[in-house]
Symmetry: C2
Subunit: 233 residues, 2 copies
């Protein structure tokens, strides 16, 4: 509910600059070449391992990016917000999509075909740079993911990191220490690479330690510093 309001605001904000932070000339071209569609919740834009058809640019909504292990377990790489292109790495490198993209709420998404993307990049260095900046950011965030997930161990540390990270994204809210919990324990587990049960137990522990309070889907973090002290412990 609350998220819808946010997204409407974002939509309005972006109708101005159309394609986010791109120069108007390129944004217009993009607007002409791209095909914009509205997807319902749970739509799969592309799946890990498929041959790349093109890139998707999130205009409105939220998209979950995940990878799947051989044993069937799932790891959520990140939740993608409007303004971000998806699947660029696959298209540019010609390799299969490296993750699965699935809408988490009704979303408006532009599609740009493989060849159109490459042509645009060749013609407009500025656009190529924009694309590259996004991949670079993705790469950096993936590296952080690796560091956090492999080199920290202790599930509590990872959960604390995740919560603090969410808190930072939450600057828009009136109460900065309060947030809506949009994911299930299962999904949170998939974000920090641990089981549903472990997440449950960790939440219980955090509550006992007064690190978090929870009423319904509302999460309050009274003492951010205390939570941060769990990180790099």
């Amino acid at each position: 509910m609350a998220t819808h309001v946010v997204n409407e605001a974002q939509k309005l904000a972006t109708t101005d600059k159309t394609f986010c932070d791109l120069p108007p000339a390129i944004a217009d071209t993009l607007e002409q070449e791209a095909l914009t569609t509205t997807y319902p919740t749970g739509a799969v834009l592309f799946a890990e391992g498929q041959a790349p058809r093109g890139v998707f640019i999130v205009r409105r909504g939220r998209v979950k990016l995940s990878i799947c292990g051989s044993d069937g377990r799932t790891l959520i790489l990140r939740i993608v917000d409007p303004g971000c292109p998806l699947g660029v790495a696959a298209v540019v490198s010609g390799r299969p999509y490296e993750a699965t993209a699935e809408t988490q709420e009704p979303s408006e998404i532009s599609f740009l075909r493989h060849s159109d993307l490459l042509n645009l990049m060749r013609q407009h260095g500025e656009f190529a740079l924009w694309v590259t900046q996004h991949i670079s950011a993705d790469y950096a965030s993936t590296c952080r993911e690796i560091r956090d997930l492999i080199l920290s161990d202790s599930a509590s540390e990872k959960l604390a990191r995740l919560l603090v990270g969410w808190l930072d994204q939450n600057t828009a809210s009136k109460n900065p220490s309060q947030m809506k919990l949009a994911l299930t324990h299962e999904e949170i587990g998939q974000m920090i690479g641990s089981s549903r049960e472990t997440v449950s137990r960790l939440f219980a522990g955090f509550k006992k330690q007064r690190l978090i309070q929870q009423t319904g889907s509302t999460l309050v973090i009274p003492d951010r510093v205390a939570l941060e002290s769990l990180i790099t412990a």
Copy 2:
């Protein structure tokens, strides 16, 4: 020793096209703008967290790319071969270098300043595309890394995967099931996210199961399929 020979061959192959797979016009420009230096073994080109100064392009030699966790443990992301640019993501996104780059043998490396890279990319879409292709490949390989390291568990599976991967890179050798082991157990552990002792024990187990044979630093994998059967088990 053997690697030196390989590298000489690669050097010869690249002196032709100079900057690998780039169009000659751009390669020439790059050749003028870039500063090429020879580094000894163990030189640190850049360290994780530093502000980006520019990109490094490996011309000859091998460079180890690693990240370091808060607890001091190290994870080797990959070993970079000639022809690959390093640190691009950091320069393009303006964020700190996301990993540490260290030469593993005497290496010849070109340096291109921050601003020069961006200008070149803006001016030559083709060059920007080349850069983006490399980042994309890095991104894809990092995703695989995540999948393999987090979603497989069982250290033996990871080691088996690593060995099979090395086997694939080894196509140049006369005996395709034979290879030189260039890393210590410690470093192998850092590649698969486990301890030195575990690697030792795994190797012992593999030998007992006749999955590998080892004499000195030469590793023979008599039955590749058997090794692969450990993966996704």
